[in-house]
Symmetry: C2
């Protein structure tokens, strides 16, 4: 068992609320990782089980199965009725939920600290004894299909995202939608779900994260009691997804849909993610995102396109550092009335070119450094925020040590680092550009 | 055992050489299909074994393994030295080769008829007793990597094709290059090859095609003798590749490479392939391809862009009907000097629009019908051509009856059928457009 002190950086110009955390991590005999984050600010605990399995690990032709199984985990087990899990949590004054990402599937409950053992007993139960009836599977398949209808089919912007990712990723399953392709979702069966469950839901593929008003020894004792008896899955093989080939050519996607009220242009570049013991590129990309698109009033794109040239009503830049294999760096412009997507894209390209020439304003850089430090602190404001930080990291190839190092890595980024990573990432051949527009705009804006 | 008479259509205005074939097909007890095509024009026989396994059946992350294994099948077996197979064929006055497609892997020899049994004994030997040494695997991996270097890396047009297919197919493995992504080819191992071999090289996954100066009863007796004793693979599951989602948005890819001497624009649309008992759409697409791009002097694109407007030095249309799941319909324009790719693409689009308005010239249609009939006859000019026809069909979901029906299906296509399939297939949302150009053209032609 390793015990680590994780003290927040406190060198603020402005005073920010903060506290010190003790983080304990260990591994049970069956391979289950345990992370305990002490946070005694409130008498609550967040109990999370993170499985190292997500949308990018799905078998060929079974897109959506990771998310589907997440839904089905709230159905019956040997000892619980369908829906009983959440009912018990609620009866105990708690709340629970779950989510699926490309790299992880997580289940969590927020309850009073003295209910932790109960949560573990129920979570251990559904790690091993899930029962699925054909009825439950059929009902829940309708639920996920409706979810897709609402979140994707009814939203042209989501459809564009789907098409852009499919065009950007030539080989990696990040190009397949997390919720699933509709035609494959329609064919998902009980056996598909059970097979995925048997293959990947096991203690040696899971990380237990407990954050809150607890003592590490108590948590570990409870974990041994409830999760310790579960057998490891000896057939579990290391995660290995197909990687991307060298990208050779810029790609473009134009989605025309009569429901589009606000047209826009966006561009996604393949970008590195945080890597264990090698987080500096990702940290520089966090800065690049803030510099180019962080705040309308001060960002490079906001100042130029919204305020100076007045050709955009909004601009953005986006980057998520926490991915197992690869991430995307995203830029976008919503043009002002009567500005074509073509003109908006040309202005975006001109602004990027100008950025490479003029570099980074030192004052803006310092402001952003302060803001990133503040965001980092705010994210620790809840036990759940703390738990997420560790769970996400430990399911995307990082370690507790990487999580601890991250604030320092961020604070040590220099403007030169940012320009270096910008030159590496913002290459046209690594990108897909998307246009979202209504049919009546097609005549005006596409040659 | 089923015995079928396949007589060529003989209703020609111009006399074409032809002959009648007898086609016999049966299935051995171990599931191996046998097709015998009698062709007594010359005392030779073509012996082919077609496996129903190809590039689109490869495990995730193992692109190129189907083609790699094809190479390795010429290495040692229990009873043969590496290279001995081809040496024995040559010593017997024959020639041999093999090829891999997305849907099949085929091995064939052309020898004097009395050597058929010898060919079968050797082919049966390498169906079961392939031995692979680490040395052979390493050497041959260098060979396929060199093949990729020559055929793809050194050819910007091939790189563009690769990128276009990756952008067009969002889910189906037809979007992954048949020869493999370089980074995955580099990692292919002996165990990968043996695992693929054990999973898919089995009599119940193979079609034996023998075409030439043989009697069906003799061939079947030999097949029983040599292939009959091989056990079926009971673990073999039906082929099921991930299918494409509904395409929503036109895609574009621009490949800029300093080695490009001849820039061009091309567009690929996802198109249906021949389907068993439902070949009429594919037949109409064969006509569409001929009508739009078949011959410079008379095709729609050739006449308009090369001869009338003189803005293209060449144009083409392409379609391959023989794919298991899906095919592509392809159009291309090589612009004349000083004509930009943008102008060439605009002219291509204008010509397609005009085609939808004016429809098909009846005289052109009749000429094309005659040419297709002639092509069909010419393709039967060799035993190998005949064998290919059946082998390809039987490994892409078709039957002997479909092969026999195909000439009639082609001859019954009407101009209306062609316009209907053109409207269905030539939709921008179903397409990817590629530009191939040199860097110095980028400034002129891309906004």
């Amino acid at each position: 068992m390793k015990r680590l002190i994780f003290a927040c950086l406190m060198t603020f110009a402005t005073a920010l609320p903060s506290f010190s955390q003790e983080v304990t991590n260990t591994v049970l005999d069956n391979g289950m990782e345990v992370v305990v984050i002490e946070d005694h600010r409130a008498p609550v605990v967040v109990h999370m089980v993170w499985y190292k399995i997500g949308g990018a690990d799905e078998p060929l032709g079974k897109s959506g199965i990771a998310h589907f199984l997440e839904h089905l985990m709230f159905k019956a087990t040997d000892d619980m009725e369908s829906g009983e899990f959440s009912e018990v949590v609620a009866e105990n004054g708690g709340s629970d939920n779950a989510f699926t990402s490309y790299d992880a599937t997580a289940y969590f409950q927020r309850v009073a600290s003295d209910r932790l053992g109960l949560m573990m007993s129920m979570e251990a139960e559904r790690m091993t004894d899930l029962l699925l009836t054909e009825d439950h599977v059929a009902t829940e398949r309708d639920v996920i299909l409706e979810e897709r209808a609402q979140r994707v089919e009814n939203r042209p912007g989501a459809l564009l995202n789907e098409q852009m990712s499919a065009a950007l990723f030539m080989n990696h399953p990040y190009g397949i939608p997390l919720i699933g392709w509709q035609h494959e979702m329609e064919g998902l069966t009980r056996e598909d779900a059970l097979s995925f469950y048997r293959d990947f839901y096991a203690p040696n593929n899971a990380v237990l994260v407990v954050a809150g008003d607890v003592e590490p020894d108590d948590v570990i004792a409870l974990a041994k009691e409830h999760y310790g008896p579960i057998d490891a899955n000896e057939r579990l093989s290391p995660r290995a997804r197909p990687l991307e080939p060298v990208p050779r050519a810029p790609r473009r996607v134009t989605l025309t849909d009569e429901r589009v009220g606000t047209p826009y242009v966006m561009r996604n570049y393949i970008a590195p993610a945080r890597r264990s013991e090698d987080q500096s590129e990702a940290a520089a990309l966090v800065f690049l995102s803030e510099i180019l698109g962080g705040s309308s009033a001060t960002s490079v794109l906001g100042q130029a396109l919204e305020f100076d040239q007045k050709i955009a009503v909004s601009t953005w830049a986006g980057y998520s550092a926490d991915m197992l294999d690869l991430s995307q760096f995203s830029l976008g412009v919503v043009p002002a009335q009567d500005v074509t997507l073509e003109a908006a894209e040309a202005a975006l390209d001109a602004e990027i070119a100008r950025f490479f020439e003029t570099g980074i304003d030192p004052e803006q850089f310092e402001r952003i450094k302060t803001r990133i430090r503040a965001n980092d602190i705010y994210a620790q404001d809840s036990a759940r925020g703390l738990g997420n930080r560790y769970g996400r990291a430990l399911t995307t190839g990082l370690t507790v040590a990487d999580v601890e190092a991250w604030p320092d890595v961020l604070q040590s980024v220099t403007p030169e680092d940012v320009m270096t990573v910008a030159r590496k990432v913002l290459q046209p051949t690594h990108s897909v550009t998307g246009w979202l527009m209504a049919p009546d705009m097609a005549e005006e804006t596409v040659q």
